[in-house]
Structures are given as structure tokens and as C-alpha cells.
């Protein structure tokens, strides 16, 4: 492997590291206050949420509209682990317990993803929208009834372990894994289902299996994001994950551009930060925000990045061969025949 190639393969991680160093430096010299850092953490969590939703809606061509439901399952799953099950863990175990919590949160969300994915993904696309919408609301209603984990008032005193470092780390891992997945036989099967389900089926692709796979992976990642979120704010309640929350992710996805990870990054980042910038407008804030969205969708219906992808978020045929395509052995083979 050449030096150039090594650099190429690690520079996306480098970007995150540099970004992290710059931000923490700015924070320590008091240019950025805690509020900015928190907005950045929310933006990153929203990128994770949006890109996982993108896997299902953008790359697999399904229509899931209850993604906050999976986020809440992850948030509760992780919080139960860190602030109930291992409440009295020794100080040294804080991080392992936190990581375990995030993992369990993801698994809980994935399990429910499987549970509702199997029946609904066998049916035609529109059913998924309705089922996921209902699912999000059912989860919220049930959590409200579960007194041991706080009921409608929610859980408080969750250790606030998630910091920018952890969140950037998971953001990096999630984007890397998703990119790898999309440029693999799995991702190609997802895209085939999106572009032409009948043809995908006719080419030997078990469409139900791949739809469920995509859905469960997305649910796991959303659960992970929920866990990260709970440990930023230290307090969660069922109503934090209502349909309004789900629709935020849909907006980030389509405004940024579905079917592109870059779109999810751009959409989630800009639209997390924008309402904060517009705070000076007080009551008018949401009106202006909505108007900006309408304008974007009218003039760029493909989303802001419109299907394009940053170099490190895609894998071209050239990349397979480390930068240069092999010379075709018999270019123009058609004439030879």
C-alpha cells in the first residue's frame, strides 16, 4: 500500500480529529462556550440519525417515518444500563458501562426494528410509512406507562458522559461503516431494490431479506444515537421522541439530499444550527426556518447536495485498484468479434 493511499484512507478520520482539536482549543480559550459545544453535539447526533434513516429511505427506497421511536428505545435502553442496572458501578467502570449501555440501546432498537420490519417490509412500501408512524407513537405511549423508568415524567440523573470526543468517535465509526456497507454487495442490493424492485427480485435478490437488513441496521444506529443523546442531556422523557422529532430527521434527510451520506451531513448540520442562529428572531424563528426549507425544496428538490458524495464517502472503481484503473486487456472488444 502506497503512502498516498494510506493517507487517503485515514484522512476522513483526520478531519474529525483536527476538527475536535480545533473545537476543544477554542473552547478552552473561551471563544466557544458550552452552548456552542452542545449544539455541535446535537448536530453530530442528528447526522448519525439522518444517515441511518438515509440507509432505509435514501438507499433502499423505503419510507420510514418513525425514526425517533428507535432513538427513544436506544436512549432508554442505554440509560437503564448506566443509571439503573449499573448505578453503583465503581468509578473506573463508568466508561465500559457507558459503552455497554450504548450497545444494549442499539440492540433494543434493532430488536424492535426486526419485530416490525418482518411483517411490514414484506408488504408494499406505503405500509412501512404507516407502521413506522404508529410504531413511534406506540413506543412513546408505552414508555409513558412504564412507571419504573419514570413514566411520562421521564428519567433524570442519567450520567452526562457523552462529550464531543465520544460523539465524534461514534460519528466517524457510523459514517465509515455506512460508506463501506453502501459500496458492498449489501449496499448494491439496497440500491437495486430502490431503483427497480422487480428487476432486483428477478436477478436473484431476496428483496425482503435485504429490506429487513437495511431496516435493522438503521434501527441499531438510531438506537446508538439515542444512547449518545441521553448521556448528553442527562434527562429523557417519552415526549422528547414524538413524531415531531421523527419529522425533523425526515426534513434533514430530504433537505440535504437523500441517497447521499454527504447530504445527510449537510442537511443535519445546517438545519440543527440554523434555528440556533435564527434565535434573535424570537417568535418569527420557526416561520423563517420553514420558509427557508420551502425555498430550498422548491429550488433544489434533489436536496442541497443533490446525490453528490464527498470523495471519502464513496468508493469508486478506481479506488478498488488504489487510484488507477487497470488497462482494459482488449479495449474495443466489440470490433474484434
Amino acid at each position: 500500500m502506497s503512502g498516498k493511499r494510506i493517507i487517503k484512507s485515514i484522512y476522513p478520520a483526520l478531519i474529525l480529529v483536527v476538527l475536535y482539536v480545533v473545537i476543544t482549543t477554542l473552547r478552552s480559550v473561551k471563544v466557544l462556550n458550552g452552548y456552542y459545544i452542545q449544539v455541535l453535539m446535537f448536530a453530530s447526533i442528528n447526522i448519525i440519525m439522518t444517515s441511518s434513516l438515509n440507509l432505509v429511505n435514501g438507499f433502499t427506497g423505503q419510507f420510514c417515518i418513525g425514526h425517533a421511536g428507535f432513538m427513544s428505545l436506544g436512549a432508554y435502553g442505554a440509560s437503564v444500563i448506566t443509571s439503573m442496572v449499573f448505578k453503583n458501578a465503581p468509578a473506573g467502570a463508568t466508561i465500559p458501562v457507558y459503552l455497554l449501555g450504548l450497545f444494549i440501546g442499539g440492540c433494543v432498537a434493532a430488536f424492535f426494528g426486526l419485530l416490525i420490519g418482518i411483517p411490514s417490509l414484506k408488504l408494499k412500501g406505503d405500509y412501512l410509512a404507516i407502521v413506522t408512524l404508529a410504531f413511534g407513537e406506540i413506543v412513546r405511549a408505552l414508555l409513558r406507562l412504564m412507571k419504573p423508568i419514570g413514566g411520562a415524567r421521564g428519567m433524570i440523573g442519567i450520567p452526562m458522559i457523552s462529550n464531543l470526543g465520544w460523539i465524534f468517535l461514534f460519528l466517524g465509526i457510523v459514517l465509515y461503516a455506512l460508506r463501506n456497507l453502501i459500496y458492498s454487495p449489501f449496499g448494491r442490493a439496497f440500491i437495486a431494490i430502490r431503483d427497480n424492485e422487480i428487476a432486483a427480485d428477478a436477478m436473484g435478490i431476496n428483496t425482503t431479506f435485504y429490506k429487513i437488513t437495511s431496516f435493522v441496521i438503521a434501527a441499531f444506529i438510531a438506537g446508538l444515537a439515542g444512547g449518545l443523546y441521553a448521556h448528553v442531556v442527562g434527562f429523557i422523557q417519552p415526549d422528547s421522541f414524538s413524531f415531531t422529532k421523527s419529522s425533523d430527521f425526515l426534513v434533514y434527510l430530504y433537505a440535504g439530499g437523500s441517497g447521499s451520506l454527504t447530504g445527510s451531513i449537510v442537511g443535519a448540520t445546517l438545519l440543527t444550527i440554523l434555528p440556533e442562529i435564527l434565535r434573535f428572531l424570537s417568535e418569527w424563528r420557526l416561520v423563517i426556518y420553514a420558509i427557508i426549507l420551502v425555498v430550498v425544496m422548491i429550488y433544489r428538490s434533489e436536496g442541497l447536495v443533490g446525490g453528490k458524495e464527498l470523495p471519502f464517502l464513496r468508493i469508486t472503481r478506481k479506488d478498488l485498484y488504489g487510484g488507477t484503473l487497470p488497462q482494459a486487456s482488449s479495449a474495443g472488444g466489440k470490433e474484434e468479434t
Binding site: 463501506n180 427497480n196 422487480i198 427480485d201 428477478a202 436477478m203 436473484g204 435478490i205 431476496n206 472503481r317
Partner: protein, 260 residues
């Protein structure tokens, strides 16, 4: 028993019997054409042979195994793949990816390996890419490997459909009007390509086509369909002279030379 044994295949849509008592014994390496006027039921036969429609009655037996009731993807896995009359490519994927997608069922890299992109997984991707380019080269599409499928000219799209079907490694290839809408030179290319595919890929081919000129020189046998019924079958020479065929074609507004 033949390699593919289709017996008394019929399908009914409400009052319409779209295919009535269709029979075909296909041997390994054989090339059989199905011809007939519009609406004769040709595509409907392919839809039954690929699991998209379930026949009302009759059986499809491939290599001794009953196929009726299987799902479309299972037909492909057992070795029957097709092209579509109304082209169905993965239009927002590249030409190379369209072909790679057809290799999914042979993929042996699991989810974890794909997400981590292990060295083994990378190697298998490179190998797959080489094979795909080789295949595209045979169909004259190698230089367009990175084009989006939707940006290909019509004739290339038809050839890409064939490349994609071949990548599934079929035993039986079903071609639904592979030269529809093609210009004469493309048609001549295809007339050379189809027999070459049969030889190089060791497949049996069932071919639906309106163009008599295209079918006659390459088919071993021809079945003629009209209103769902088989009205004639035999060698191209025989079928061509059969009065029933001439009548069906003239009655349907056809000339012997091709499309209406």
C-alpha cells in the same frame, strides 16, 4: 426428460386465458424462439417462467425439480434469468454496478466483513470488478462501465440487460424482444451476439421476438403463439411456410419481415 420441461402451462386473468396449454421441452444448449402477434401471451410465459405470475394450471420442471410456487428470486437462483421487454435497469446505478448487483446471490462476504471492509472483502470486490469488466467487454460495454445506466443509449441498455442476466450465471436465459427498437446495425450485432452467448456461456436460450429475419437464422426451433394458443411449432423453415402462421401474422397486421 428434458432439461426444462414445461407441461400444460395455462394462466387466466379474469375471463381472459392469456396462455392456454403451453408445452415446451428444452434441451441443454438449445435456442428456442417464441413468436406471435401483440398480446399473444409471450411475455406472460416468461412471467410464469420467472415466478412473477403463478400459472393457473400446469408445471415447470427444471432439472427434475418442480419450480411452480417459487418466488422470482428463487427462479434466478435455480438458474433461470431474463431480460425485460420494457427495460428494467437499475437506472441510478452505474453500468458496472448493474452487473455486480446480479452477482449478489453468489456473494460470500458477510455483513460484518462488508462494514469493516476487510482485506478479503476488498480482494473479492476487485475480483468481481475484473469479471464484470470482462463480461461487459464481451458485450461491447466495457468503456461505459462508469456511466449511469439511465444515460446509456437504448441499444446499450438492451445489451446491459443481457450482461446483467448473464452475471447471475444462468442455465436458461430468457430474452424478451432483445432487438425491439434497435436500428439495423445494432440488430445485426445482436444476431451475432446471441448465438455467441449461447456458446460462450453454455446456456439454453428462449427468445421472444417479432423480427422474423432476426429469429430465423439463429433459432433451432420456433413456437408460434396466437391468442395464448400454440398454433404452430417446428424448424424455422417449417414454421415460415405454415399457412396458419402466415394467416396469424397477416391477420395481426404483420409482414413476414418484421414489426407492424
Amino acid at each position: 426428460m428434458s432439461f426444462l420441461e414445461i407441461t400444460n402451462l395455462s394462466i387466466r386473468f379474469g375471463g381472459l386465458v392469456a396462455v392456454d396449454d403451453f408445452n415446451l421441452s428444452l434441451e441443454k444448449g438449445e435456442l428456442v424462439a417464441i413468436i406471435g402477434p401483440n398480446g399473444a401471451g409471450k411475455t406472460t410465459i416468461f412471467n410464469m417462467l420467472t415466478g412473477i405470475y403463478k400459472p393457473t394450471t400446469g408445471s415447470i420442471v427444471l432439472d427434475g425439480e418442480n419450480m411452480v410456487g417459487l418466488k422470482p428470486y428463487q427462479f434466478a437462483r435455480k438458474g433461470i434469468t431474463r431480460t425485460f421487454q420494457n427495460i428494467r435497469l437499475f437506472s441510478n446505478a452505474t453500468v458496472a454496478d448493474n452487473v455486480k448487483i446480479a452477482h449478489t446471490m453468489h456473494n460470500n462476504q458477510n455483513l460484518a466483513k462488508c462494514m469493516i471492509r476487510t482485506p478479503g472483502m476488498r480482494k473479492s470486490e476487485v475480483e468481481l470488478d475484473r469479471r464484470v469488466i470482462e463480461l461487459l467487454d464481451k458485450l461491447g460495454l466495457a468503456d461505459k462501465a462508469d456511466f449511469l445506466a439511465k444515460n446509456l443509449p437504448y441499444g446499450d441498455q438492451r445489451r446491459l440487460e443481457i450482461a446483467r442476466a448473464l452475471m447471475t450465471e444462468p442455465k436458461i436465459l430468457l430474452l424478451d424482444e432483445p432487438v425491439a427498437g434497435m436500428i439495423t446495425t445494432e440488430l445485426e450485432d445482436m444476431a451475432r451476439l446471441v448465438p455467441q452467448i449461447r456458446r460462450d456461456f453454455d446456456v439454453s436460450i428462449i427468445l421472444i421476438e417479432h423480427h422474423m429475419n432476426f429469429v430465423m437464422p439463429i433459432a433451432d426451433r420456433i413456437k408460434v403463439l396466437d391468442f395464448g394458443k400454440t398454433i404452430s411449432e417446428g424448424t424455422p423453415e417449417y414454421v415460415q411456410k405454415d399457412p396458419k402462421v402466415i394467416e396469424a401474422y397477416l391477420g395481426g397486421g404483420y409482414t413476414q419481415n418484421g414489426t407492424a
